[in-house]
């Protein structure tokens, strides 16, 4: 309980600072919209093609935008050595880590909500046919990116090359969750409901999230204090 309360203090702090400057959000949203625009020219898809490739394109863009968000996650604590002040406080490493996760998760969701209408505008597609299933898929897949992104943001925060290292480390690790997201979003963009056959991919996402959330929280202390 105490961990969760401290985590939420850090989340609120991050979101307040972000909403004040909107540096990361502006960058991530305009990135995802411009890439959507570029893809719409590069592929110029017919409705059938959109059904085939739209899900993959959409999630790739969210993943890249997520990288922008998580590059900043722990880097935000670097000016004035704020991370030291957090670690020296009674908040545990797990609480700090979880707080950062929640903040990154919220920012990525904001980017997704703002980009989805643009996707529909440029590509068409029937992604809004099953809003409930779409939300579950997006929430689970976004949490996968969040947990890996936050972990590796914390790992690379003191490195000179952190902006380069983050994607190099995160993308291969995320492969299973991304396969699931591609598959599920492809169904949803085509206007099909997620049937029992594809329930397996929701399970992959859920299992991935669960395993790596536990692992990351267990190792949070080793990541933040050396």
């Amino acid at each position: 309980m105490k961990t969760l309360r401290q985590a939420l203090v850090i989340t609120r702090k991050d979101l307040r600072a972000e909403l004040r400057t909107k540096e990361t959000l502006n960058a991530a949203v305009s990135f995802s919209i411009s890439v959507l625009l570029l893809f719409s020219f590069a592929l110029d898809p017919t409705p059938d093609q959109t059904a085939e490739i739209g899900g993959g394109v959409l999630w790739m863009i969210f993943l890249f935008a997520g990288t922008l968000v998580f590059n900043r996650s722990f880097a935000r604590e670097l000016p004035n050595d704020c991370l030291d002040a957090l670690v020296a406080s009674p908040a545990s490493s797990a609480a700090i880590f979880l707080g950062k996760c929640f903040a990154g998760f919220s920012m990525m969701l904001i980017v997704e909500v703002l980009s989805l209408p643009v996707f529909v505008l440029f590509f068409g597609g029937r992604i809004m046919d099953h809003p409930g299933q779409l939300s579950v898929t997006l929430l689970l897949a976004t949490w996968s990116v969040t947990i890996m992104g936050t972990t590796f943001s914390a790992l690379t925060v003191n490195l000179r090359l952190r902006e380069l290292m983050l994607p190099v480390l995160v993308y291969p690790m995320l492969l299973p969750a991304m396969l699931a997201a591609f598959r599920l979003l492809t169904m949803l963009v085509a206007g099909q409901a997620i049937g029992s056959e594809d329930l397996q991919w929701l399970r992959v996402l859920f299992g991935f999230d669960l395993i790596f959330t536990c692992l990351a929280l267990a190792l949070a202390d080793s990541i933040l204090v050396n």
Partner: protein, 223 residues
């Protein structure tokens, strides 16, 4: 009565190179230790280990009570106001009424007029006073400051001296590393000196040290 700070047999390596060698240091309540030594001797490493920011390779650190930490960075967020910064840290430290505490400390540090201004608009002196408020706001039992007097303006130095004096009088413990010998000697009850990772001197501050702050450095050939 247990000591407020107990550091026992602490070693820290950078690879095979020992940055700290078998440091043992205890501080009772109401004591103030001035940590002296050249740059790179290991003062910062020792303080960071005491604050839990680094893990010792060997040995143990026991701190009784909350820690007030101030390192080289001021540890406050540029995009938040002074008030918001103090509320955030008050909440993390679990103080009873974070908002009231924040207001109280803004008044004490003379920042109440700019409470709602963002830190990025602050002058250097204002930032330093805010950092001091951030480190003191939860009434820490143990205050660990790394080079607190370096590059402070006069007002911040006076504030810090008052706060240190009060803390010591209230039976709290202060450990600070410093190059500002005169300021440090006035406050210190004990003096520790580190040379190349080893503790070469640890004892009460004598009248001799107060009269001649450079005394210890000359004794150990570091003038």
């Amino acid at each position: 009565m247990t000591n407020a700070v107990e550091i026992e047999g602490v070693w820290k390596y950078y690879g095979d190179f020992p940055a700290l060698r078998n440091i043992a240091l205890t501080a009772a309540q109401g004591e103030c230790i001035a940590l002296l030594g050249r740059n790179g001797a290991g003062k910062t490493t020792l303080l960071r280990i005491a604050a839990g920011l680094l893990r010792p390779a060997k040995g143990s650190v026991h701190i009784n009570g909350g820690i007030g930490w101030l390192g080289h960075g001021i540890g406050v967020y540029e995009e938040l106001s002074a008030y918001e910064n103090l509320v955030v840290f008050g909440q993390l430290h679990g103080v009873a009424d974070p908002k009231k505490t924040a207001t109280h400390w803004l008044e004490r540090t003379g920042l109440d007029r700019v409470a709602d201004a963002l830190v990025r608009e602050f002058s250097r002196g204002m930032r330093q006073r805010l950092a001091v408020a951030r480190a003191f706001l939860h009434d820490p039992q143990v205050v660990l400051f790394d080079e607190p007097f370096t590059s402070l303006d006069d007002r911040a130095i006076r504030l810090l001296q008052t706060l240190f004096g009060e803390a010591i009088a209230q039976g709290r413990t202060v450990i600070m590393s410093t190059h500002q010998l005169r300021e440090a000697m006035e406050l210190a009850t004990h003096v520790a000196m580190i040379q190349r990772g080893s503790l070469v001197h640890f004892g009460p501050r004598t009248a001799e040290m107060l009269a001649d702050p450079g005394y210890l450095y000359r004794t150990y050939g570091e003038s």
